[in-house]
């Protein structure tokens, strides 16, 4: 299942998800292409790390994807004349760990129920998925917001990417 075609499909779907959220957040139409590309790049980075480099390292894959989006939206915001947040927030939405959050919640519901059968296994699963969810969300928020601060800029408008 880890063929390049599968990777491409996954990235394509990430792009579509990002675009859908761009529309939900009422982004200006000039930003749509950049948001789709952002989602696509997110997918490519996350899934190529998961498929080929470090399987199961979800946190690092999400962090690196979010960090790349944080860096790439700086020139992209310049290009599309929108604030970087308008591009970066929809673009990292595909990284939200939906299934892990769901499994955590299911685990928590089970923990409130019958305590006799398999309690330890359920507890360890729930804690595992819960920490994964927490750290993935933290890493993507951090990855997006750090690059602008590292450049010590408050606006991308006055940045120069080449010598004029």
């Amino acid at each position: 299942m880890t063929t390049p075609l599968h990777l491409f499909f996954n990235a394509f779907c990430c792009g579509t998800a990002a675009l859908g959220f761009g529309l939900l957040f009422n982004s200006p139409s000039r930003a749509f292409l950049a948001i789709w590309i952002g989602g696509f790049v997110t997918g490519i980075i996350k899934f190529s790390i998961l498929f080929y480099l470090f399987p199961d390292s979800f946190i690092m894959a999400s962090f690196l994807a979010a960090l790349s989006i944080g860096i790439l939206t700086i020139p992209a915001a310049h290009w599309r004349h929108v604030p970087p947040d308008v591009l970066s927030i929809p673009a990292v939405i595909p990284l939200i760990p939906g299934v892990f959050a769901y499994k955590t919640m299911m685990g928590l519901m089970k923990l409130t129920g019958d305590t006799k059968t398999g309690y330890a296994a359920i507890l360890s699963d729930t804690v595992h998925y819960g920490t994964l969810t927490l750290f993935i969300v933290l890493s993507l928020a951090l990855g997006v917001s750090v690059p602008m601060r590292l450049l010590r800029v408050t606006t991308v408008k006055r940045l120069r990417f080449w010598n004029k």
Partner: protein, 257 residues
């Protein structure tokens, strides 16, 4: 520019309105501060702000170190509107570069705030597509993607209806999650023998509070700790509302055991 007192008062009121427009369209605290500072500096005024979760106070100081304006304004509407956000960011640069009159800025602000949103059906369609795309990236098959599409459509439709009637936002989120999960459960009840885990997990993702979550972090990093905590709490409550909506249905159908 802005010689007499009347002008300064008008400018101050405009500045607060711009801040409030940014606040109610989902800008982070530092973006609000930067944009307002840009406007004030263009008129050689030194601005001082308090940016609260739902109100903004501004004091303007002129070149003679005299306080020329103080004002406070509050809002009830806090949502997400990136069209207004990017329009205001552009407006601030035009204000510096083009010598606009206050009347022009005011007109542009009103225009930006009354921009029509995208057609409701287009949003429903694209967000539902986004939901099924999500389902695919989490390993769902084609059937689950279709179920997620229908569930997201139903959930978002009800969510939008409830927002129209101005229910509490967390209740809107709860009911949205409830309806989306219920729609997915209809396929479970039909005994189609489909694995529904991914569909359940992704049909509520259209409700995730992505903007408060990331703004919360940006604010915390920028030292705007109070507003960061407030936005974090909003994001957390929305997430809890989603979880409650989901777990209500899962509990009713005893899907957790």
């Amino acid at each position: 520019m802005l010689q007499n007192e009347f002008d300064v008062k008008q400018f101050g009121a405009l500045l607060i309105d711009i801040g409030i427009a940014l606040l109610s369209s989902g800008a982070s605290s530092s973006r609000i501060r930067n944009t307002m500072e840009r406007f004030a500096n263009a008129c050689n005024l030194e601005p001082h702000f308090i940016v609260n979760p739902k109100s903004i106070a501004v004091t303007l100081i002129n070149a003679d170190r005299a306080i020329v304006f103080t004002g406070l304004h509050s809002t009830h509407v806090v949502g997400v509107n990136f069209k207004t956000l990017s329009g205001l960011s552009r407006l601030s640069w035009r204000f510096i570069e083009e010598e606009m009159t206050l009347q022009q800025v005011r007109e542009e602000l009103v225009r930006l705030q009354t921009l029509p949103p995208y057609s409701r059906w287009l949003v429903l369609l694209m967000v539902s597509l986004a939901g099924s795309a999500f389902c695919f990236t989490f390993g769902g098959d084609f059937k689950q993607m279709c179920i997620t599409f229908i569930a997201t459509f139903a959930g978002l439709f009800i969510n939008q209806e409830m927002k129209k009637y101005q229910f509490n936002l967390y209740i809107c989120t709860y009911v949205g999650a409830l309806v989306a999960t219920f729609t997915t459960s209809l396929f479970y009840m039909a005994r189609l023998d489909i694995q529904l885990e991914q569909a359940y997990a992704t049909c509520v993702l259209f409700l995730i509070p992505g903007v408060p979550l990331i703004n919360s972090f940006s604010d915390l990093i920028d030292g705007q700790t109070l507003s960061g905590i407030e936005r974090g709490a909003v994001a957390l409550l929305h997430t809890l509302a989603i979880a409650f909506g989901l777990s209500t249905i899962l509990f009713l159908y005893k899907l957790y055991s």
